[in-house]
Symmetry: C2
Subunit: 310 residues, 2 copies
């Protein structure tokens, strides 16, 4: 498949690239689209090699670099690494590999939103639930301490949650409740002020998590902050697309379909394995029906990288 033909006419028309180990990053796509409905988004989910959360930094970094190499012909105006594990393990290295690209992750925005949520006079105790690899990387601890050196950060690996969500379990399933109770108990013992949902899947469980932690704990979802940051970044550089579009849509005649249908008009999805879960999970994470994705095998990613190196 040739991507070059899709190169945009002007810099503002260039898409935002969002990449993830699987489909959880679609929660970030939703947050971006809610704030910038006029932007084109290219989404890449590495479904043949997911999950990243149990794998090593070297392997995850390499996978992410292959994906960005593959998507370079889109000349994206911004790249979001929407996977917490990949942000934690690979962001720094990937920025060095692609110095001309503007790339952000989800860990720093999540850490900042958590610190912002601390109320004056409160003990600065912040809980973080995430994958094993994210916890092991200490990325959230470092990012939070950087912003608030007095913070005490309690991280907990919660590897089952991704699979509970991907299986399609509902919030009233007793297993979902038990699983969350077990994972959250040692964090709640330390009386945190905020809890960071350190994986893009977890916002699906947000209502139940909020119920279990109680009103005194701010539940932080990094997707919202990440999307806000990307909007500000693009606005500062005059890179937002067609700024009048929002207003135009707001005077759209009643009876026309909502602007996010069909999704094809603004969203293009790529996956490395054509999982039969795509339709179910995409609509669960994004809240709308998504057109079938293009499939790019891991071999194509590798061959593409090798061809560029020659």
């Amino acid at each position: 498949m040739k991507l070059g033909s899709d190169v945009p006419m002007t810099r503002n028309d260039a898409p935002i690239v969002v990449l993830d180990s699987g489909l959880g990053g679609l929660t970030v796509v939703q947050a971006l689209h809610a704030r910038m409905p006029q932007e084109r988004i290219v989404y890449f989910g590495d479904t043949a090699r997911l999950p990243y959360g149990s794998k090593t930094p070297a392997t995850v970094t390499h996978f992410v670099e292959q994906i960005i190499h593959y998507l370079e012909p889109f000349q994206p105006k911004h790249v979001v690494i929407a996977c917490n594990t990949a942000s934690a393990l690979a962001l720094e290295s990937v920025r060095e590999t692609f110095p001309d690209l503007s790339i952000t992750g989800v860990v720093e925005p999540g850490a900042r939103a958590a610190v912002d949520a601390l109320r004056p006079g409160e003990e600065p105790v912040i809980g973080v639930i995430a994958t094993e690899a994210t916890v092991r990387s200490r990325a959230y601890v470092l990012a939070i301490e950087d912003l608030c050196p007095s913070a005490r950060v309690i991280t907990r690996a919660t590897p089952l949650l991704v699979h509970v969500i991907e299986e399609g379990r509902e919030l009233d399933d007793p297993l979902v409740r038990l699983c969350l109770q077990q994972y959250l108990a040692p964090i709640l013992d330390r009386r945190p002020s905020a809890l960071v949902l350190g994986c893009t899947h977890y916002p699906i469980l947000r209502p139940l998590i909020c119920e279990l932690v109680g009103k005194q704990v701010s539940v932080i979802d990094s997707a919202a902050q990440c999307a806000q940051d990307v909007r500000e970044h693009l606005a500062e550089r005059g890179l937002l697309r067609d700024a009048g579009y929002d207003m135009l849509e707001s005077i759209r005649p009643a009876g026309l379909p909502p602007i996010d249908a069909p999704a094809e008009s603004w969203l293009q999805c790529y996956v490395t394995d054509d999982s039969p879960r795509f339709a179910m999970l995409a609509s669960r994470f994004l809240g709308i029906t998504v057109a079938p994705p293009e499939v790019v095998s891991p071999d194509e990613l590798f061959a593409n990288l090798t061809a560029q190196a020659l």
Copy 2:
């Protein structure tokens, strides 16, 4: 890394290759070693791309073919696809790709052991728990019906179990019990005579599964039957190694270390990602400490295949 230097001197000295999406296939290694302690075993776990159970037949078949291509220089006397998903999705195609290799899986042995466990006069109802991909493939249904056309097969995808085990949860964890109860309930409603553990991870949960299903249900673990079949296959062809070895060991003087320590002498492990879980899971599945594995990246597998094709 060069494998060719490891080519055995005689056909009987050639190793048995066991491959899996991850480390669950080590339960098959254990069953093989228990029956043939004199055999050399080469184990390959595709830890960078696991799990296979949520992926498509095309992707899984391609991964398995890459691995066998890579291990061909060992000139194995037998190859066991120790992953139920890979056996269900890829075995037939892989046999066509490698007509000179003797290759077996774990689905057919599991199906046969289940049919053998049926008692005369009983309703031939067999339950199967497995990954989503294995269930979708209907491989167990077809294999069981082939052996016993009157059998009624009830299959159930149980995707969380692998992750529950990989997280290291113990049998007395209430979440493990609840998870199994939920998955088994609709099968037990149909009053099965046998239950097949259709994933190499599940034998870890066997004591709790046996408790939950009750004594009237035979719990079938395909690893044992698979290992027995491999032994018979090699014996029939005169390919067992050093047949006197067993007897020799049985008269081993007391006080010497048991024959399976150190494991290095008979077992060589390869993985595609150097997971920090390896040591914990390997000892859990195999029951002994295993030397650190060699790491072969997915790129090396791809490059190897491409080089052979030129």
